[in-house]
């Protein structure tokens, strides 16, 4: 899989009757930060780890 996303000149369109699907949170950002935090856990950059921890805490507090 060489290329994962490609530029196309098309609009993203949804019918208003289906738009409720846009209102559910995915938790994808929280998962991403947790994966990064785990991968970088053995690193020595404590500032960076603290920054990731803060982001994770904020997202958890927001229920995301």
């Amino acid at each position: 899989m060489a290329l994962l996303a490609a530029p196309r000149k098309g609009a993203f369109l949804i019918d208003s009757r289906d738009a409720d699907i846009l209102n559910t949170r995915s938790g994808a950002v929280l998962e991403a930060l947790q994966k990064i935090r785990k991968a970088e856990a053995s690193g020595k950059d404590t500032t960076r780890l603290r920054q990731l921890d803060e982001g994770i805490s904020t997202l958890r507090a927001k229920g995301r």
């Binding site: 060489a2 993203f12 369109l13 846009l22 994808a28 785990k38």
Partner: protein, 169 residues
């Protein structure tokens, strides 16, 4: 892995070959000059000698259409996301028990970038992109949904086989 904004200095002498002629050309000719996108580089480590992947982000939106009006909800568009051939289908060395690939970790770092933008600079509640056909399962694994599968009406076009998809942040 580390990521940076794409910069001329970092990319001197750096090769990138994802296997797509179009993207390899974009990398060599347009990456730094594309006014419609901001590009990021994902490096194997802080020495920035091996380029693992690239991504380009643009402002975008999802049009919500009703019988009498159009509304737009803001989104970030992943215009390009590509991984170098050397790192495709290869397990990321720092991966946890899920044995994620380099492409997965490029994606996680891209999510961190998007979160940094939407949390502090320019709000948006969604990521949108056109997935190449082979990558649809990759994005579904990362919680994306294909517009066409969800719509009561066929309101989104598949362009050149690429599938419009979205992720709610």
């Amino acid at each position: 892995m580390v990521y940076t904004l794409a910069s001329k200095d970092d990319l001197i002498g750096i090769s990138f070959n994802c296997g797509s002629e179009y993207i390899d050309k974009y990398f060599s000719e347009e990456l730094l000059d594309d006014d419609d996108a901001v590009s990021y580089c994902f490096w194997a480590d802080a020495r920035k000698q091996e380029l693992v992947g690239i991504a380009s982000l643009s402002c975008s939106g999802i049009i919500i259409r009703s019988a009498s009006s159009f509304n737009i909800t803001p989104a970030v568009e992943v215009k390009i996301f590509a991984v170098d051939e050397r790192y495709q289908h290869t397990i990321f060395p720092g991966a946890d028990e899920d044995a994620g690939h380099w492409s997965d970790y490029c994606w996680y770092y891209l999510m961190e970038i998007v979160y940094g933008i939407t949390d502090k600079h320019c709000g948006a509640g969604h990521i949108v992109l056109y997935s190449v056909p082979d990558a649809v399962t990759f994005y579904k694994r990362h919680d994306f949904k294909a517009f066409a599968e969800l719509m009561a009406m066929p309101s989104n076009m598949v362009i050149d086989g690429c599938i419009p998809m979205f992720l709610n942040l």
